[in-house]
C-alpha cells in the first residue's frame, strides 16, 4: 500500500542464519543428553526459544501491553456500557467529562466507546490480513522453492504481476464494484502482502534444501510433499512468522491509511483510520485533541507492541543473533 512493506529484506541471509541455528540448537540438546550431567530433562529448541523470548524486556512488555489491549477490546465495552453508535446531537464535540471519559465526537457519540469498537476492527483486519497473506505466501513460496524449474518461474512471475499492479487503483475499483467492506479490505491487503512472504519462504527453502539432511532425505527416497512438510516447513515457519509480526503492523497501518482516504471501514462502524479523518479539520487538530490523539496513540502503541514481539521472536529463534 502507500506505507511500504519492507518485510522482504530479511531474505536469504537471515534464512541461512535460521537454518544454521536450528541445526546447532539440535546438537546442543543432544550434547547435554550425552554428557548426562544435566539435572533436568533436556530442553527442546522450542523451549529454549521461549525462554530467550521471555528474557527480552521489550518482548515481555509488549506481550503484556497487547494482552491488555485485547482484554480491553473483549471486556471493555461491557464495563463501559455505552453504545458506540448512540448519538446525542446536543452534545456535539464535547471535551472529556460529563460521563464521557474521552469526550464526544461530531454526532455526540462517546469517543472511548468508539475507540474500543475501532480497536476490535483494526486488530481484526490486521491479524486476518496478515494471517491470510502469511498462509498464502508460505504455501506458494515453499512450493516454488522446492519444485524449482518451470513451476518456480511461473509462480515467481505471478508474484511479479501482483507486485506490479498498483494496489491503490485496485482497492478503489474493487471498492466501487463490490462496495467497501471489512472482508474486502482484509482480502485486498492480504492480496498485496503475500508476495513478500512468498519470497521469504522461497529463499529459506532454497537455502535449506541444499543442506545435507534434506539431501539425505531425498536420497533415501522420501517423497516431495513429505520433505516439504517435515523439513522445509519447520524451517520456513519461524522466519515467516517473524516477518508476520511486521506484516500485522503494516496491515494495521494500511487499514488506517485506507480508512483515512475513505476506502476502508465504512461508518457508522468505527475504525482508528476513519476516526483520524476528523483531524484534517483545523478546529479539531488545534483545539480538540480528544478526538484524534487517542486513535493515533492507539495505532502507534499497537504497532510498536507487535513489532517488539516480532523482534523478540526473531532473536529467540536465533541464539547467534547479535542483539
Amino acid at each position: 500500500m502507500s506505507e511500504p512493506a519492507f518485510s522482504g529484506a530479511d531474505s536469504a541471509d537471515s534464512a541461512a542464519r535460521a537454518a544454521r541455528a536450528e541445526v546447532s540448537a539440535d546438537s546442543t540438546a543432544e550434547r547435554s543428553t550425552a554428557a548426562g550431567e544435566t539435572m533436568r530433562t533436556p530442553s527442546s529448541p522450542s523451549q529454549l526459544a521461549l525462554r530467550r523470548f521471555w528474557s527480552n524486556l521489550g518482548a515481555r512488555v509488549s506481550v503484556v501491553a497487547l494482552a491488555l489491549i485485547i482484554l480491553a477490546v473483549v471486556v471493555g465495552p461491557y464495563i463501559l456500557g455505552i453504545d458506540p453508535d448512540a448519538q446525542n446531537l446536543t452534545a456535539s464535540r464535547q471535551p472529556p467529562g460529563n460521563g464521557h471519559v474521552l469526550g464526544t465526537d461530531l454526532l455526540g457519540r462517546d469517543v472511548l466507546a468508539r475507540l474500543l469498537s475501532g480497536v476490535r476492527v483494526s486488530i481484526l483486519v490486521g491479524l486476518a490480513a496478515a494471517a491470510s497473506a502469511l498462509a498464502l505466501g508460505t504455501v506458494i513460496g515453499v512450493v516454488a522453492g522446492s519444485a524449482g524449474g518451470r513451476v518456480d518461474s511461473a509462480l515467481m512471475r505471478v508474484t511479479d504481476i501482483f507486485m506490479a499492479v498498483p494496489s491503490l487503483l485496485v482497492v478503489i475499483v474493487c471498492g466501487g464494484i463490490l462496495g467497501p467492506s471489512i472482508a474486502l479490505l482484509v482480502g485486498l491487503i492480504a492480496a498485496f502482502a503475500w508476495p513478500t512472504s512468498a519470497r521469504i519462504a522461497r529463499s529459506v527453502v532454497l537455502s535449506v534444501r541444499e543442506l545435507d539432511f534434506v539431501k539425505a532425505a531425498t536420497a533415501a527416497g522420501t517423497r516431495r510433499p513429505t520433505i516439504m512438510r517435515r523439513h522445509l516447513l519447520p524451517a520456513v515457519i519461524p522466519q515467516v512468522t517473524v516477518s508476520g509480526a511486521l506484516l500485522v503492523a503494516t496491515a494495521i497501518l494500511s487499514e488506517a491509511a485506507l480508512s483515512f482516504l475513505g476506502l476502508g471501514v465504512v461508518p457508522p462502524q468505527a475504525s482508528w483510520g476513519n476516526m483520524l479523518q476528523s483531524a484534517q479539520s483545523f478546529t479539531v487538530i488545534s483545539s480538540m485533541p480528544w478526538l484524534w490523539l487517542p486513535p493515533g496513540l492507539a495505532i502507534i502503541l499497537t504497532s510498536v507492541s507487535v513489532i517488539f514481539i516480532g523482534d523478540g521472536m526473531r532473536d529467540a529463534l536465533d541464539p547467534k543473533a547479535s542483539r
Partner: protein, 547 residues
Amino acid sequence: MTRGTRTVTGALSVAVAGVLALAACSPPPAADGSGSATATGGGSTTNALTIWLQQKPDTGSPLLGGTAGNGQIITPVLDQLVNIAADGTLEPRTAAKWELSSDAKTLTLTLADQKWSDGKPFTADDVLFTLNLYVNPAVKSPIATVLKPIAGYEEVQSGAAKEMSGVKKVDDKTVQISLKTPDVGFMYTLFGATIYILQKDTIGKEDPATVASSPIWVTPGKVPGLGPFTLTAYSAGQRAEFTRNPNFRKPVKFEKLNEVLVTQDVATQQMSSGEMDLTLVAATDVKTVEGMQGVKTVSNEVPGFDRYTINQRKAYLKNPKVRQGILTAIDRAGIISSIYAGAAKPINTSFTSPKVTRDGFNAYAYDPTKAKQLLTEGGWDFNQEFVIREVNNNAQRAAVDQVVLKNLQDIGVKATIKPVDQAQLTDMLTKGDYDALLYGGGIYVADPETNIPMITCANAYPKGANLPNYCNPQVDSLLAQASTTIDEAKRNQILTEAGKLENADVSHLWIAQPTRVYAYSPKITGGIRGGDGMAAALMSVQDWTVK
C-alpha cells in the same frame, strides 16, 4: 545473490534514485510558462490576493455544464448579463438595464458601457453572437435549453436557421429578446444560468463543433473577456493566476488574483499561517477562524438548500404519508445545531423565494412516534430496506447521512447506506437504483419559476432536473398559470398555493438552508459579498478594498 552482486545492483539503484531526484529538483514548469518566476516585490503584498479554488477545473469552458471548479476560473475572466445575488436581488453586470414588456413577451436589455479586455468595443453584436452560439446545435451545449422560450430557438436547433429570430439588435447598446409565449419568470432563469458573454471577433473564428472543449479556455491570452481579470497562468491541478483587467467597468483595486487548489481544511489552516486571503469556511470551523488574529468573516444565506431526493419511481415511496413519516423521523433541528454548527435555517419547501408566503406550511417537527404512525398509515412495510446512497467526497453530507440512518433505524426502518462513486452517479440516478440521496445547491431564491425544472412532471429525470420524479399535476398547472400572470399580487398568491401543495406532498426530504461563511485576511478591509461558493464571492471583487 552474493554480497558482491547485491552491492553492485544496490549501489546502482541508489545512484539512479539520486540522479532522478536531483534532475527533478529543478523548479516545476512554472505556471507562467517561463523557466523561473520572479518573486513579487518583497514586503508589499496587497498587490496580490490568494483565494481558495474550491474544486478542480477541467476544461474551463463556459459552453459546457458548469461545475464549481470551472465556474471559478471562468468568472474572473468572463461576465454574465445580470447577477442574482444570494438574497435574490438582481445586480447589473454586462447588462446595465433590463425591462420586461407589460405583456411579458419582450425583454429589452441595455448593455453596459465598457470595452473588452483586449480594447475592442463591447456591442450588441457580441450578445447576439453569444446567445446564438449557445443554441447552435454543432456546439451541443447543455445550457441551451434555458433559451428555449425565445422565438426562433427550435429553428436554430433543427438547423433550419442560423440565428434565432427572437434575438434582435436594436442598436449598438440595446438588445431585444422576444419570447414565443408570455413568460414572467424567464428573465430569472436567463440571468441565473451560466451564460457568459463571448466576443464575436475572437470566438467567432473558432469552429463551433470543437469550441466547447477547446483548450483556448485554459490558455492565457486566448480569450478576451468582460470580467475583472485576464488569465495569465494556469496549472491544471495546482492553481490559476489572474491579472487585473483595466478595461473592466470598475477596475479592481489590486493587481493579481491567485486561486489555489487545496482542500477546504487546508485552506482554513492557511488562514492561520497567512498563506490564504479568502476562503469558504466549514460550519464547524467558524468559531476557530473567528478566533484567528486579524481574520474577519462575512456570511450569507445560500440561494439554494440541502435536501434528499427521495425516489418516487419506487412504489413504496409514492404515498405522500410515507414521505411525511420519513421527514418527521429526521431530527433536522439536531442536525442543524451539530453538523451545521447552528449556521443554517430549517426549511420545509423547495420554494425559497420570498414571493411564496410560508406561514401555515407544515413544519414536520421531529417526532419519532408520529413518524412511525405516519409510516404505518402510509402502508410502509417495516421489512422493506431503505437504501441511502452516499457520494464519498463530502464530510458534511456523510455526517448528515449518519444521523438520518440512526433516526430511521431507531423507529424500526431497515435503513442502510450504500456508497456510490461520483462517476457512477448518473447511471444510478437514471436507473433509479436508490431510495434517497443527499445533495445541495441551486439558485431558487430569486423567483419560484426557477423551481420549475426540479418539481414539475414534465421535467422528471432523466428528461429534466426533477430528480425524485415528483409529480403533482395540480402544482404543475398552478406554476404554468403563474408564469403568464402579470399581476404581481395575484401571481404570488398562485405561487403560494403551489407551495402549500408541495409542502404537504414532501417532494424532497428538505434538510436545511445553510449559511455560508467566508473568512478573509487583514489584507482585505471590506467589500466582500458572498453567495453559494467562491465564484459567487468573486461577483463583488470590484468592491473589495485592500490595505
